[in-house]
């Protein structure tokens, strides 16, 4: 009798995820910059300025795939959740029988969906630019790029729970740029001053970029753990950042 009160969780998760995708897809001011920026930068920096070098195109594809995740994750989670919290929508969901994880899962699904669109555009440009990878290398590259969703989504979440919409957008922008430049996603960190290079070790973007380069056969994979361990630690820190932000909500 009692269980007849609660809607089956998988159905709620699916509907919430679909609604989240529809909500964002109807915001062209959000969706066009976040999806189109990474392929556009890739075409400009790697393909046009790389002067037809397949190696340059491959290296850039690896790091720009990580870059492509950051927009949907930081802005989709950060700014959107801040707006929904400010307007009282989160509170109403919290007081409903909606399973607690459905909201987060839905945002992850939307981030993944929009990241996938950016991946497809990037990979298409890469192929056109002369990138040649084995099936295994493609699979590993897609795996690393997809993995990148998790730490950035957690950081976005932590920002969105703490700040208002405007503040969240501003901070997300700073994080977005810092992660891209200092993490070596646009160009190798070797071009940066030495002091700035050390910052990269604390950034998940750097380690994901290095792992993507390894997946694409552009780096020796011998020292993989040197990136897996810091990535795991920064992801854990991001999870704590998100979780403590969520805890602040309940009074």
């Amino acid at each position: 009798m009692m269980s007849a009160l609660i809607a089956p969780a998988p159905a709620v998760y699916a509907r919430e995820s679909w609604a989240e995708i529809v909500k964002s897809a109807r915001m062209p001011q959000f969706i066009i910059p976040t999806i189109a920026l990474p392929p556009a930068f890739y075409a400009l920096f790697a393909l046009a300025m790389g002067q037809g070098s397949a190696e340059a195109a491959t290296r850039a594809l690896a790091t720009f795939g990580v870059f492509a995740v950051m927009g949907p994750a930081l802005f989709g989670f950060g700014a959107n959740i801040a707006a929904e919290r400010e307007s009282g929508q989160l509170e109403l969901k919290r007081l409903s029988p909606m399973p607690a994880g459905a909201q987060i899962m839905a945002k992850l699904a939307a981030t993944a969906a929009f990241s996938m669109v950016a991946f497809v555009l990037l990979y298409g440009l890469g192929l056109a630019g002369g990138v040649v990878l084995t099936a295994l290398q493609w699979a590993m590259l897609v795996g690393v790029h997809t993995l990148a969703i998790i730490p950035f989504a957690l950081i976005g979440l932590g920002i969105g729970y703490r700040l208002g919409q405007k503040g969240a957008i501003a901070v997300a922008n700073i994080v977005f740029l810092a992660m891209a430049v200092l993490g070596g996603l646009w160009m190798p960190i070797a071009v940066l001053p030495e002091a700035m290079q050390t910052i990269a070790w604390a950034l998940p973007s750097y380690h994901l970029g290095e792992m993507a380069l390894m997946a694409a056969g552009q780096r020796e994979a011998a020292n993989l753990w040197l990136h897996v361990v810091p990535l795991a630690l920064t992801t854990l820190a991001a999870a704590v950042f998100a979780w403590t932000g969520e805890r602040q909500q309940a009074r």
Binding site: S87, Q89, L92, L95, S96, P97
Partner: protein, 306 residues
């Protein structure tokens, strides 16, 4: 299952402290099925704290909160409750029908979307995006979300803000129908006419305590039951000592006497001012009654403190 007589929701000895301020201290309160209960009182009296504790929005610092025999955070309790918050945003880019359908989907006992839209008076706006609604229309959607799960407890916080009179009456009809169908309704409002039109029971809160609890008529009867309006040239002080009078007020060119013995007061008024021609006798409004209750509560509190 719960027995028929157990309350829908109850606070027992509930205490809520913000910093050094005890908003509620050992507060007892219960809601019964099939009843519209209006919570009234000045701002900061604890109305929204009471509603927040019952719905699980706030946590009590001490005491127990019981919603359908469970903790309010239990999804099984939440599945039987519909809430209309005071600040309730909507998913901007979803249509009205999509927003209602999504929310209704959290509840296994949900009503069909078309039925919810019909009851909330939103059928014509079903395809409109939520960011293109007026304030009153958005409020209707929030009401639709509250009733979408066929709740046994409906919590409404200032539900008709921004409504035109027709829309207001239409929503009141739906709320009354829900209560007649067996739901408990908790209404927090500033509008006395709304409380008077809807409530079977009025609970007045001041300084974190219940100072009156009863049917609207009983609340009005608890204070000076009658207001007498006089057109006189004499000063107000002359009437203050008349039998039964508890309060004298100047209203424009008239005097308004609140009295518990209208007949004696009127006789005395004619004796005091033989030239008295114009007078009007009415029941005290709920607003009068409330103002008096809160005023006398303050006076008592001051005396106790002295």
């Amino acid at each position: 299952m719960l027995s028929h007589s157990s309350p829908i929701a109850a606070l027992k000895g509930a205490t809520k402290v913000y910093g050094a301020h005890r908003v509620l201290d050992g507060f007892d309160f219960a809601l019964e099925a099939g009843t519209v209960t209006a919570l009234l009182g000045p701002n900061g009296a604890g109305k929204s704290t009471v509603a927040g504790l019952l719905t699980g929005r706030l946590r009590a610092d001490a005491g127990t909160v019981n919603l359908f025999g469970r903790d309010p955070s239990d999804p099984l309790a939440r599945a039987r409750m519909g809430i209309m918050l005071q600040a309730g945003g909507l998913p901007e880019t979803l249509t009205v029908a999509e927003a209602v359908d999504l929310h209704a989907g959290y509840f296994a006992r949900r009503l069909p979307t078309a039925a919810v839209l019909d009851q909330a008076g939103l059928t014509a706006l079903a395809g409109r995006r939520c960011d293109r609604l007026s304030g009153g229309e958005a409020r209707k959607v929030q009401f639709a979300l509250a009733i979408a799960g066929a709740p046994d407890l409906l919590v409404l916080d200032e539900p008709t803000t921004g409504f035109d009179p027709d829309a207001r009456r239409a929503m009141w009809d739906v709320v009354c129908a829900k209560a007649e169908g067996g739901a408990a309704v908790l209404l927090a409002t500033h509008h006395m006419d709304e409380a008077e039109a809807l409530a079977d029971r009025i609970v007045v809160i001041a300084d974190g305590r219940i100072i009156a609890d009863g049917a609207p008529d009983a609340i009005k009867a608890r204070v000076a039951a009658t207001a007498i309006r006089l057109r006189t040239r004499l000063p107000a002080e002359r009437f203050r000592a008349a039998p039964g009078v508890v309060k004298v007020e100047t209203v424009g060119a008239d005097l308004s006497l609140l009295t518990t013995a209208p007949r004696l007061t009127l006789e005395a008024a004619f004796a005091i001012d033989p030239a008295l021609q114009h007078f009007e006798v009415t029941g005290a409004s709920l607003e009068d009654a409330l103002a008096n209750l809160i005023q006398s509560n303050r006076t008592t509190a001051l005396k106790e403190a002295a």
